[in-house]
């Protein structure tokens, strides 16, 4: 793990280019305000150096991966926020309308439940598990992009958005 003081402009450029390429390939857009976006990319690299993962730069991370899973970029809330607000919480990702200047970019409320409600929200999801597949094989859902697959265990990486295995939840 690198020290956060040793993050170079070159590292920021490299990750920025990679994220932009991946975003386009997946039908997403990075915020076209390059200086703003590179500032967020630097925040991701700082958090990677601090915690070992890309915790959202605009949220207070706990530092324990299991407690921060939902805010690892791209966070669980990106897609619904893009639909409702035209941007994700930190505004790294924006909708086509915001990219094209047809919609203004503004700070948005955090969709993440407050810390005291997070356990209850997770428990209510477990209670929702009522379906069964005929074969008994579970269905897993990628919490980042919504990809579903029927396997005994979730894949190591989401084949659609490349999110890690621990971003999957049991769906059926």
């Amino acid at each position: 793990m690198r020290s956060e003081d040793s993050i170079t402009g070159e590292a920021v450029e490299k990750l920025y280019s990679r994220l932009r390429r991946d975003a386009r390939a997946g039908g997403y857009n990075l915020n076209p305000d390059e200086a703003f976006t590179k500032g967020l990319v630097e925040g991701l690299l700082i958090n990677e150096a601090r915690y070992g993962y890309w915790a959202c730069p605009c949220r207070l991370a706990d530092g324990e991966r299991a407690l921060d899973l939902d805010i690892i970029c791209p966070c669980d809330y990106r897609d619904p926020d893009l639909v409702d607000w035209g941007a994700c919480y930190c505004a790294l990702y924006v909708s086509d309308a915001v990219r094209d200047g047809a919609q203004d970019l503004a700070p948005i409320p955090d969709r993440r439940p407050p810390e005291e409600d997070r356990e209850a929200v997770a428990a209510s999801h477990d209670e929702e598990l009522v379906g069964f597949t005929r074969s008994g094989i579970p269905v897993w859902r990628c919490k980042v992009c919504g990809y579903l697959c029927a396997r005994t265990r979730p894949p190591l990486k989401c084949p659609i958005c490349k999110a890690d295995q621990d971003r999957f939840e049991r769906f059926m």
Binding site: E42, G43, I46, C58, R59, L60, C90, P107, E115
Partner: protein, 96 residues
């Protein structure tokens, strides 16, 4: 890494201003820049750089005024708070 806590002296000091921010957050950076550009006297605390106990205390302080711990959170005169980067509201509250 920026200083965990800093005091910035400006020409507008009538209102006690405390900015809770994250050192990695661009919206927090904008909020700090606004206060500096408007020459406001304020204190800034980077909550992500605090040790765990202090972090807890800061979260508790913010929650006295807001139903969630989001950043930037600016507390005015220890009585009210604006959460999120809302430049017009911030300027209105400060009368500038």
């Amino acid at each position: 890494m920026p200083d965990v806590r800093s005091h910035i002296e400006g020409t507008h000091g009538d209102v006690k201003v405390l900015l809770y921010a994250l050192s990695t957050c661009i919206w927090c950076r904008k909020a700090r820049q606004l206060l500096e550009d408007e020459s406001v006297t304020f204190d800034c605390v980077y909550v992500d750089l605090l040790d765990p106990d202090e972090r807890k205390a800061s979260r508790k302080h913010i929650r006295q005024f807001s139903d969630r711990t989001s950043f930037p959170a600016i507390i005015f005169d220890d009585s009210d708070c604006i959460v999120g980067y809302k430049p017009e509201k911030i300027k209105e509250r400060l009368g500038i």
